[in-house]
Symmetry: C2
Subunit: 363 residues, 2 copies
């Protein structure tokens, strides 16, 4: 975050990209009203998915942020894609505005694409989540293998904003699309009932909810469970040097505010879970440096078309100069090509390598 | 840290200060060879105490950093002062180069000042540590009340560098000065023996050691225990928004590297202790905001001269615009004036106030 902010002044906020022979412009940082990830394919603009604010308290957050009833939808722990048709071709764009070769490869497995044939002006906003995704560790417990897709919004090409919730639900139903679960429709005063939903999600490993005002302005806010904060820490601690340093502290703060408001008692297991979330990944990083001289995260995902696996690796390599990608295997297994690769984390590798070989640090 | 680095380009690295009618120049950021905290009183320069690097591994750190035998001294958990005579007047300078009204007030209680009468060219470098100090929470277990002073180095006015260890020890002995315990003299290969010292310190609540090469270059390095890292987190988590965000993560990393090298087994108590170190202060901060609408740390310290208590509060107020200081009481108790004050932490107060009243955050 810090690095990105510092760079903003120096580079253009729009850059040219291509995917195969398709050329387009991508907004790399919020530019006026255009969110990061907005893509311009000639005359066709696909607006970026807006950034959604987070509340850390339910009672006051509902009271302050919402002035009409609201839908509560489950927030799925995955990566955000916009699926759309451009010049007769279906694309899947990541939050940042890259075409994702993995999502595109698997799209026919993940959803019925008739909606885009019949409504080519629509943009399907969805979370792709599951243990076999190429971007992040952590996934909803209900997706036990591979990945699944959960539609949570529809937008229109060339337009900001979302389709109204009922219109979205009708289209999801008509086309039989997999969707993020809608958990209810509540008044902003009903924080206790929404709190019960959050406690259930917390107990069952859910990430949290997105609250969507049932009104023309369609205001939104996120709210997540304490266990998802612990899980985030556990799964990302090895990337400590790549993430904004506030990342971890923000999650501890969310956790504490959630437990306090939901009156979940602090027990030994909670403190132990939080402590272990910090310790596990760091002990494992030390072992990696001792035995393999590098710190890495391992990913595995399956493709229909082998070439998309190669495109994905090129995409990841091009997208983050801090990450080195090492392909471990790409093998045919049944109907799929299964790719395994490691993301080497050079900052953590460098730091641990330095201090474990006796280097000094100043702080 | 980030804020300071960003400001470096914009402001002068030397600024004028005064203490009563004494005017001097203070180096606010490293300036060539001059460390931060170097002070210039007319012709007399008191060099800043140099920043000492830290090793996070003992075996490799000793091998890489030291090419001669080394002294192992206990690192006392307090604040660093330089005590010196300038124009016939005794001063106590903080690390940053401010005259400390608290240390000065209590100096006669803390050490025999004859050394400066007989050697006015010397600068006594010491740690002032104890539960009743105005700067930091955390203290060596052996200082159960008030504060104590521990001399760890002698320098000379107008000169960088330290007196040789044996010369320092002879002067400490001659003048009966309280000193940081010298725990031994070792070869750089004797990491296991030094490790045993660290394990004892870890068990007894010690902070760690400073390793001082027994050679002309007098190279140094710090090395701290895992429990001191947990203790740091516990005692400073409320100041989370004032500290560099890496502060906490660095300590978790130190902790893990220490435990791994010292082969201290990970048990439930360790994870629980680390988790609680994060949780305790944040739960307490939430309670403070609920009941008092602010997050603060409480301090208590005793003075001989009531005016020095007032000078101290002015000093703290002037030194950090992020901190508000609220005096709670200043009362005569026996031979002392006992001051109690709160440092209000406006960043944490602001953040918690915002989110607890339902505000949105973006991340």
């Amino acid at each position: 975050m810090i690095a990105r902010a510092a760079e903003t002044g120096r580079r253009s906020r729009v850059c040219s990209e291509h995917f195969g022979n398709l050329r387009y412009q991508r907004v790399t940082d919020k530019l006026g009203d255009l969110p990061r990830g907005t893509c311009m394919f000639g005359e066709t603009v696909i607006w970026g998915y807006p950034s959604i604010g987070r509340i850390l308290r339910l009672e006051s957050g509902l009271r302050e942020q919402f002035c009409a009833p609201l839908w509560v939808e489950e927030k799925m722990d995955g990566y955000n894609v916009r699926i759309c048709q451009v010049a007769g071709r279906v694309l899947a764009l990541t939050r940042g505005g890259f075409v994702c070769p993995f999502t595109l490869d698997r799209l026919a497995d993940l959803m019925d694409l008739r909606i885009l044939d019949e409504h080519p002006e629509l943009v399907v906003c969805a979370e792709v989540a599951g243990p076999e995704n190429p971007y992040l560790h952590g996934h909803p417990p209900r997706v036990a293998e591979d990945v699944a897709l959960f539609v949570f919004d529809l937008m229109r090409r060339g337009m900001p904003g979302y389709l109204p919730q009922r219109e979205k639900l009708a289209l999801i139903e008509r086309y039989g699309l997999p969707a993020a679960p809608v958990l209810g429709h509540f008044q902003p005063t009903e924080w206790r009932r929404i709190g019960e939903i959050l406690q259930q999600l917390n107990a069952s490993g859910g990430e949290g909810v997105v609250l969507k005002e049932d009104s023309a302005r369609s205001h939104r806010a996120k709210y997540v469970t304490s266990n998802s904060s612990i899980s985030d820490i556990r799964l990302t601690i090895q990337s400590i040097k790549q993430l904004p340093p506030e990342y971890f502290i923000n999650r501890v703060l969310r956790l504490v505010l959630f437990l306090d408001e939901q009156q979940i008692s602090r027990d030994r297991a909670l403190a132990e879970g939080l402590g272990d979330a910090f310790l596990d990944g760091l002990f494992s990083a030390i072992e990696q440096v001792k035995h393999e001289h590098r710190v890495y995260e391992r990913y595995r995902c399956r493709f229909r078309d082998r070439r998309n696996a190669e495109r994905l690796l090129r995409r990841i390599r091009a997208g983050d100069r801090h990450i080195q990608v090492v392909q471990r295997s790409l093998e045919r297994v049944g109907d799929y090509y299964v790719l395994e690769f490691d993301k080497v984390l050079p900052n953590m590798t460098g730091l641990l390598g330095h201090v474990m070989s006796g280097g000094l640090v100043y702080d």
